[in-house]
Each structure stands twice: as structure tokens, then as C-alpha cells.
Homo-oligomer: 352 residues x 2
Amino acid sequence: MPPANHTVDAAEVAALLERGRTLSTPVLRAAVDRLAHPMDTVAAYHFGWIDALGRPADGDGGKAVRPALALLSAEAAGAPPETGVPGAVAVELVHNFSLLHDDLMDGDEQRRHRDTVWKVHGPAQAILVGDALFALANELLLELGTVEAGRATRRLTVATRKLIDGQAQDISYEHRERVTVEECLEMEGNKTGALLACSASIGAVLGGADDRTADALEAYGHHLGLAFQAVDDLLGIWGDPESTGKQTWSDLRQRKKSLPVVAALAAGGPASERLGELLAADAKSQDLESFSEEEFATRAALIEEAGGRDWTADEARRQHAVAVGALDRVEMPSRVRDRLTALADFVVVRKR
Amino acid sequence: MPPANHTVDAAEVAALLERGRTLSTPVLRAAVDRLAHPMDTVAAYHFGWIDALGRPADGDGGKAVRPALALLSAEAAGAPPETGVPGAVAVELVHNFSLLHDDLMDGDEQRRHRDTVWKVHGPAQAILVGDALFALANELLLELGTVEAGRATRRLTVATRKLIDGQAQDISYEHRERVTVEECLEMEGNKTGALLACSASIGAVLGGADDRTADALEAYGHHLGLAFQAVDDLLGIWGDPESTGKQTWSDLRQRKKSLPVVAALAAGGPASERLGELLAADAKSQDLESFSEEEFATRAALIEEAGGRDWTADEARRQHAVAVGALDRVEMPSRVRDRLTALADFVVVRKR
């Protein structure tokens, strides 16, 4: 699913992600070191720096799209990438606060190929360390003591509230029989769009950008987030477990009303109706765990036949186009614009 | 246990607490109304504004010491009490964020004579609404958009991190056989002192006070918090369930290593040793639920005999004196000083 008229320079994107990691990780580790024991250890486990027995590990800390965006965002405002580092770290802290809490609320046992924190260290530590990372994010920004840092913290706080709204919607949708495509997009805008929007603007805000510039970069990040999530929803059903680190048919096992599902249900026609009947019956069953691979494969095939897979792939491309279009509203060095565009391209072609 | 050389003017304290409630509650309710459904309902239940079925209620919202302090704090800096209102509300939001999460982590089923949020609405809502209240606290302050609000948010963030550290220590101490008096005081300073310190200074910071004034008011609040917690620890063992809304011997049922317990264990002598043997045996038992009232009464009597009750009552008086003494470091209208003193007096003589 490559975006129309774009080829992705994989090496350039890899270098951008690597730069984000290289500049932000030492600051992130120093921030986590401020936590009282045993929260520092629990957080280090979550970030993949140590294993469950406390031995040093070289874990998968995630794709690091957010730090890469925060650094590019500073450059978009004419500041050096380093100006975006506290923003990159604050956004990563908020992102990981939400992962710790969401994994517990959702009962997810695996993340990044490893047991989740609540599985290893218990629910109380997952709550507590999540809280601590959230507080730490604000602390890191506010101790800069500048007007810009105050503005950045305010934007981050608004994004965090949306993130929480999105998780609340996600949970409530799991208990409902029908969710509209619009409701699903709103939830995903909150749950994924808001923090990517903040990542794409926080560096610029720290670099002294005006609200107009910050808002345009937010719009880029918001639509990039929706594209990102559409791809995530595709991977959640058809992704390769080897790449994603999740089970096969992961989102179907969790009854997630993700975009391919709600789009298929809204499409009408025989496959859509048959899917609706099956999912309605599933909703009454307590136990999807006992389902065979074939039963999930049947549902996935119906989603595809009803057009849910294609619609979601198109949606990823549409959001990608809107994101890249938003960049036209900001004056920035063309090299920075090219890099932001390359990152957007990467998001829609990734396999994990 | 009235503090030496002070009589408490009950009517004046009641008026101060009432003023804090009257000025802050409408702003608090408007803030909670910003939450997406069903988080608004869950929060309204937590604050006692509705019952478990959603019917309006006139619940017990707590003593409201923190809002009263925040308003006095503004006056201590020469500002009108209204200047402290966003601070009062932010501190209440953070306090209630911590209650929601702590009740879940600790498995506490009752608060203010009612079932806790996780009991009524489930663990996910307790986590989510707690997160939302924390974010809302920062949002309310930062949208003031002033330099003072940035400073106030930074102080609140530092206090919140200490609050989380204190809860982490509290949890880890429950699994340890011995906790020193110093460790217990450090935990209580984090868990209770930090947010009372912030309450007592946040109004002044919003009113433009310099760091010296804010720090002195923080010191007053910190020691007031330690006095408050010492009294809480006494009420947690010997409090009247009718007044406290908790079970008899509440802290002993929860194996809390509170001040009377650690002081009694540190005292030495026959009662102290016998208590140590009993608690060591209890620690190996999974099930204190089956204990009779007499078994808890025996432990409480040993704590008292070993001097833990008297030591804790003395500690409340000592911290009260240090708190009131810190007020001498700040120039403020004598009427405000008298009121801060009256509030400190109230904290050590309260029965709930």
C-alpha cells in the first residue's frame, strides 16, 4: 500500500528515527532514573532496558516516530533539532504512561514481544509507574522555566486529555453492538491523532514558533496519526505476528471495533450482513479464546469481502494526503519539509 | 489532644472550610463537566454529587482543608482569596486522582461511607478517571496563561511526583517486616505533606509571591501535613467508625505500618517485643479477615502499652508547632496568620 506519487527513502527514514532515538534516549533514561525504587526498575523493564530479572537488555523500545517528529518540528521552526529534545522525551513519557495503563485496562499480556508490566510486576506498579511517567513529562518541560515551555506543556496536557478520552471511547465501544465509522474515526483521532499532533508541533513551540505554525504542524501530525492508526488497524487483523509481536487476528480476538470492522459493517451487502450476524453472536459469547484459527479467518475474509480492508487502506492514503498538504501552510526549509513528508510516507507503508 | 497554648475557634475554622468549598466547588464541577461520558459520571460519583444509580446526591466531599489553605495562601501574598481558586481546584483534582488510584491499588472498598469507584464502576474507570483528573489539574492552571500559573503548575507537578513516591513507599512497606520511624515519616511527608505544602503555597504563587514566601508557606503546609497524617494514623487505629467512615482497627486490618505501629516496634520493652512477635506471625498469615475484634484489640493495646499512641500524639503536636513557626518567616496580614494558625489547630484536634 505505497502512497500515490511517493516512494519512501527507507535509509533516510531510518536515519531520522535513529537520530530521534539517539538524542532523546539519554534524556529519557536520566528522567526515569529520577523515579524512586522500585518504580525506576519497573519503568526500565517497560522501556526494554532490562529484563524481568533485572538484567540489562537491548529491548525493542518501539518505532520512535514521536521523538523523530519532535526533532523535525523544532527544525521546521528554524531551531536546531536539540531544541525539540525535552518535547520528544515528554511526549514519549506520556505515550508510555498511556501504554502502561491501557495494557492493564485492556488486559493485554504482551507488548513488543514481551510480557506487559502488569503481568510481570503487578497491577499496582503498572498504575503507579504510569502516573509517575505522566508527572515526569510535565516536570521535564516546566523545569525549562520558559514561556515556550509553558505553552508546550499546555498543548501536551490538552493532547493527554484527548488520549484519555480516546481510551474511554475505545473501552465503551467494546461493549456496544454497533459503532459508526465516524465514532471510530473520532476515537482514533483522540487515541492516536492527538499525541502525534503534539509530537509534530512541540519542538516548534519550544523553538518559539507562533500559534499559526504550531497549529499547521499539529494538523499534519493529527492526520498522520489517523493514517498511522488506519495502518495499525490493518496490521491488527492481517499483520504478520512475526513483525507485529502480536497474536494472529489480534484485534478480532479482542472484539476491537476497528476501522476495517466498522467500515465492513457499514458497507451493506451479503458479506456485510453475514459478518454482522457472526459478530452479534460472538458478542453474546464470553469466550473467544476457544475459537479456532479458522473461525477468525472466516471473519477476516468477510471483512475483506465487504470492502473493509480496501476502505481502510484508502483511508490511510487519504489521511496521508491531508497530512502532507497541511505542511504547505508553514514556511520551512525544504529539507525539513522533505523529511516530514518521508516520515509520513513511512507511516503508511510500515509492516509493524 | 489539643495543641499546647491553643484553643480552636471551631466556628472560624468551619467558616474557612465552608468558604473554600463555596468558592472552589462550582469551578471543580465545571472542570469535571469537561470530561467525556462516562468519565464525567464516574467522577461525579466519586465526588459524591450523584449516587451509584446516577441520582443527585449531597455526598460528603471530604473535609476540604486543601481548598481552604489555597485561598488563605493567596491572602497571605496580599491577593484576594479568589486568586487562589484555580490552585484550590487543581490541588483537589490531584488529591482525588490519587484517591481513585490508591483505593484501587490498595483494594479499599469504602471511602467517605460509600463504595469506592473501582467497586461500583470497575478498575478501568478508576484508572481512567484518575488519569483524567490529573490532566485536568494541569490544564486548568496552564490555561490561565500567566508566568505565575507556569510556576504554580511546576510546584504542583513536583508535589504530585512526591505523592506517587509516597504511595510507592507505602505499598513496598506493607511487604516488609520492619519499617523504621524515619522511613515512615519520609513516606508520610511524600504522601500527605507534599500536597498540603502545595495547597498552602499555590494561592500565594498565583498571587505573585516570591520564592522565599512560597517556600515558607510550603514549609508550613508540609509540617501541617505531617501533623495531619499523625492524627490520621491515630484515627486509623482508635478512630470511631461512625466518624471516620472506616472499619474498626482499619489500618491494622490492612497491615499498615503506620506511625503508632513503627514507633511501638522501635520502643523496645516487653509490650514492643510481644507486638513484634504477633505482627511477624500475622505477616505470614494470608487472612487477617478472619481475625476477631479481640485479636485486633490486643494488638492495639500492645501498641498503646509500648508507647506508640502517645509518641504519635506528641509527634502531631511537634509538627503542628513547626508548621505554625514557619509562618513567622512570612510577612502577612495578622488576620491571615491567625486563620492559618486556626486551621493548623483544627487539623490536630479533628475526629475524622
